[in-house]
Assembly symmetry: C2
Homo-oligomer: 330 residues x 2
């Protein structure tokens, strides 16, 4: 039996191409003493992987080595006493159908408490990023206005809902009318803007935010962010969680200089690093689970079938092809 793996063939320049990846067949590995054999079930594709491919984000992926991201896997053979056959686990693992692990960094997941895929989304890094970036950097107060870019995405849709739970007016920005509609009807945003069909995004934001913008949860960067930031109120907080509009740039984009606004409006702009909050993960997961069970939080997934579709799913992130968390089911 052969085992497929996907390796980085060339570092993407600009938009990643299918040809930057290569699918290779290798022999099925065997679990040695203390090891487990894992069968991938869901593999997460995420925008931050782009930086690790081009080498701007550490640790970078090496050429001719497998890509890695967060996986949900089933233990199909165990020679490690901490795991037994049939367990479901999550971990930062290679893009392989089957792989062995010594169990380091591998967590058990409870398939009864939530759907397996939720552990890569709302109860995983995605949900925790939304939770900590909004609460710890955004510091939302009731009655304030929160704007979320990439609002129909995995992190954005959760950030917006948490903003509503915190009592904010929440305005989302997305790239299709369908997503705009979902923000209102499914995720309970107060207003939504389709930036692709809006003549003047800055004016549209001003119209949707009659009291200005107090908190900006940024997933996209670029012109959308420039427009939001020019609508910020004094003492505004900007949680920068992603900059997907820039990830494929081959040279540095130009924007209106932010620093004068930072001075005049006493803004705080902070890059979000999930690792800073590792100690609080259990608290975050508990709160997110509670909200899920109370029906205060809902989430979307876009699930692509088939291991070999991983590169296509990843590239789809930059084409706005996902609603919510993008996953590949093996």
């Amino acid at each position: 039996m052969k085992n497929k793996t996907i390796k980085l063939k060339s570092r993407p320049v600009g938009m990643p191409l299918i040809s930057d990846f290569i699918t290779v067949e290798e022999s099925l590995p065997e679990a040695g003493s203390g090891e487990i054999l894992l069968k991938a079930i869901y593999i997460s594709v995420d925008p931050y992987l782009r930086g690790k491919m081009s080498g701007t984000k550490d640790p970078r992926f090496e050429l001719d080595k497998p890509i890695a991201s967060k996986l949900i896997a089933e233990v199909v053979e165990s020679k490690n006493e901490k795991f037994k056959k049939g367990d479901y686990v999550s971990g930062y693992l290679d893009w392989k159908e089957y792989q062995v692990s010594d169990g380091a960094g591998i967590q058990q997941v409870d398939a009864k408490a939530a759907s397996l895929s939720a552990y890569l989304g709302v109860l995983g890094v995605t949900g925790l990023s939304a939770y900590f970036a909004l609460l710890e950097i955004g510091k939302p107060k009731p009655g304030e206005t929160l704007v979320v870019s990439g609002a129909a995405g995995a992190v954005g849709s959760i950030a917006g809902q948490i903003g509503k739970i915190m009592g904010c007016r929440v305005v989302g920005i997305a790239g299709t009318d369908e997503k705009k509609e979902l923000l209102i009807t499914k995720f309970g945003f107060d207003a939504a803007i389709n930036y692709r069909t809006t003549l003047d995004i800055e004016v549209a934001i001003a119209a949707s935010c009659p009291n200005g913008v107090d908190i900006y949860f940024d997933n996209v960067g670029g012109e959308i962010s420039d427009a939001v930031i020019s609508n910020m109120n004094k003492y505004g907080r900007i949680a920068v969680c992603g900059s997907i509009s820039n990830y494929n740039d081959t040279e540095q984009a130009l924007s209106p200089s932010l620093l004068p606004l930072v001075v005049y409006k006493f803004l705080t702009i902070q890059g979000f690093l999930i690792a800073d909050f590792a100690e609080k993960f259990p608290e975050g997961i508990a709160q997110l689970s509670t909200w899920l069970n109370e029906g205060k939080l809902t989430y979307s997934e876009t699930i692509i079938d088939g291991f070999t579709n991983l590169p296509k799913a990843f590239i789809g992130l930059f084409e706005g092809r996902n609603e919510g968390k993008m996953l590949v089911k093996i």
Copy 2:
């Protein structure tokens, strides 16, 4: 006896002009019951006044009304029991040779503890801005590298010295070779860069900061800031205390977009508002006085003589004509 006052004649567009100001003579005011008559001794000119003139900074100055800034004055007549003739005071007051006040917002200053002018500089808003912006936003740790722009200016020269006291490597950026020399010899910076004679400021900063930049104390904005920020280390902190290169812009300047760097390097960029630290002013003044008396802190002043030279002194700030705090002696 006539009393001179300087009023805002027109809102500056671009670089302020002498003709944006008008000197008017009016009759000498008289102190009523509960009031004091003040004679200006030193008047502070500061870059932030530019925003209040054009109306981008609140509260703005009104046309045909006096400009106001921080003054040191002598009480020449008192009908207020809290003050007596001969007292020296400081306060946010009009640009007038003489004026009356009911004493609200007026502080006594101790002419024996420090020179009168120091209360507009190192022991005033200038020193306190350097102190709180560096310590509270910059959070310097021993061994880290601090870069200060506008380093020979009033705030910058103090911020750099506090960085040295905190154990940082301190690199200053200034606009003349004379200032560059002063940064090293007078203020004890480890390295200095003259941005006007440097071919590539980004490369010069990299060369002066072999371990990268951990903290950037920004007084200037613009291309200098772009160059510093591109040299920031992960987890870098940027205290934005001024943006003098932009204050006279008539349209928004373009810069390389900051947001991708904020994401990749987990930067924090924060606008500094001295009012946020008002409760800690006594602590800050006490610490600054201690350092002054211990000889750990030195300061520069550029003192221009003559009330009617106030507009010229103010405009000089944007031409880099000051070394340290710019004051007008009446």
